[in-house]
Amino acid sequence: MATELPTMSNGATHNGDSNGANSDSVKQGLARMLKGGVIMDVVNAEQARIAEEAGASAVMALERVPADIRRDGGVARMSDPSMIKEIMAAVTIPVMAKARIGHFVECQILEAIGVDYIDESEVLTPADYVNHVEKSPFKVPFVCGCRNLGEALRRISEGAAMIRTKGEAGTGDVVEAVKHMRTVNSEISRAAGMSPEELRVYAKEIGAPYELLKKTAELKRLPVVNFAAGGVATPADAALMMQLGCDGVFVGSGIFKSGNAAKRAKAIVQAVTHFKDPKVLADVSCDLGEAMVGINCDKMAEGDRLAGRGW
């Protein structure tokens, strides 16, 4: 795939006014600047510095990486703002933070402390079983997870300026991320072959706004930047997602739950830049130490799956 995302004149979705930080050009623009890069989960300033030195194009500040959220159980919430601020002070690259699905007040707080992107994330415990956050009015841009095209387009219509696959966070098993990306790709190619009448029916079927579906069918890709996330643990995983057409990669537990975090982080960054070059991929895959142990997604109980959160 790897279809081009057209420049703003014909590519941006227009929901906001056209001046100031809450315009779509500015929100989607930052996502475009992150493309071809790796966004790493970090839990403190020290990890954030390791990520920055490894060449991360942004960091995601959170209290516990998804693997620990799984292990500990309980309610996972937005991180302590003082910890996020420490990370913001430690690095010069953009800092993202997670809010619970539907928890618009956590989003207001994250905006107030000045994070660069909010991830309305299924990795945290949902705060609303019905509604996602109405994201357009915020100045800070949002990234949201998806398992399929309908879910991606619903999030974009709510104002998400960037999409990622949900995958299955905290497992180190890339199989669900691959499934979600392949699902989105195949649904887009189906839509691209449809007449306007068929598209209307399809929009209803997948619960997507018609106009956004039409635009997606024309572009033959999502109308915003789309990253891989959920289970990426190796340089090869990252390059696999890039070759499937992702614009960049989130790595959560995969780095700081592995043997040699700094080396693995650098290797994944190189793999995302040189994703089409197997020789480079072979080089950077050497001697990385132990990968995170991982949980096999097919052995996982339904109730343990995070990707099912969000609607």
């Binding site: 014909n10 100031g20 500015v26 600047m33 690095v91 841009p141």
Partner: protein, 291 residues
Amino acid sequence: MTSPITIGVLALQGAFSEHIQLLRLASQLLNPTTTTPPITWTFLEVRTPVELAKCDALIIPGGESTTMSLVAERSGMLEPLREFVKVHRNPTWGTCAGLILLSESANRTKKGGQDLIGGLDVRVNRNHFGRQVESFEAELDLPFLSSITQKASSPTNNLQPTAVHPFHSVFIRAPVVEKILPHTTGVQVDEEGKDDTVVAPSKTAGEGVGRDVIGREVEVMARLPGRAKALSDSGVLAKDVGEEGDIIAVRQGNCFGTSFHPELTGDARIHVWWLGEVVQAVNKRKEAAAV
């Protein structure tokens, strides 16, 4: 007979695809009478020294400058890039992160600093306007576009040259040029002595490089006068940012830098203008080689 020109876009990280799209558009819009013989353009994503060696000119796109310089270093690209820009003096344009990398001096870099390519005798201030919530759009007056027709900004309009209409621009966590440095052939020594400032290593221009591209002073190509207007709700007044406004576009010899993102707008006028500059530079070089 056609004449081939290859333009590379550094594709280590960031918005390189957007530049390639606008280069394709710009090459179609470039007035054919200004280029005889007709030019066969090739636009290339550049990730390796071998790909860079094929290029007559280069764009360094927006993205994260720290990521790009680290990946460049680990991919064996940093020195070839310095050679390309500072020894061979090939035309190079940097936008946002690209402007940072082309500067001889930079502030507010990550702890431990970052590698720069250099080429422009300026000091940039990274993330000058603040974080993402301070990012904005602005209408810019760009006098250097006066020769570019309206058509480039809107392919449906006619070809008549008109008064320069404002260039809609996007500033994302943008840097500005906070100081024009005196031109020097070596490293920027005064800058090197400053805390929290990093400088680029010096390189001597190669033989056969035209004297017109060496020893030039930095030209200010554009300023952002009404930041107050752009930051409508932050209470900043024009006088707070100085009457002249921040420097957001500069040129020095073969190097051009903009702190905003023309690649995000769909307006190809700057790309058309820059391709024109590249054609002139390539032709001059050919003439010099023929003598």
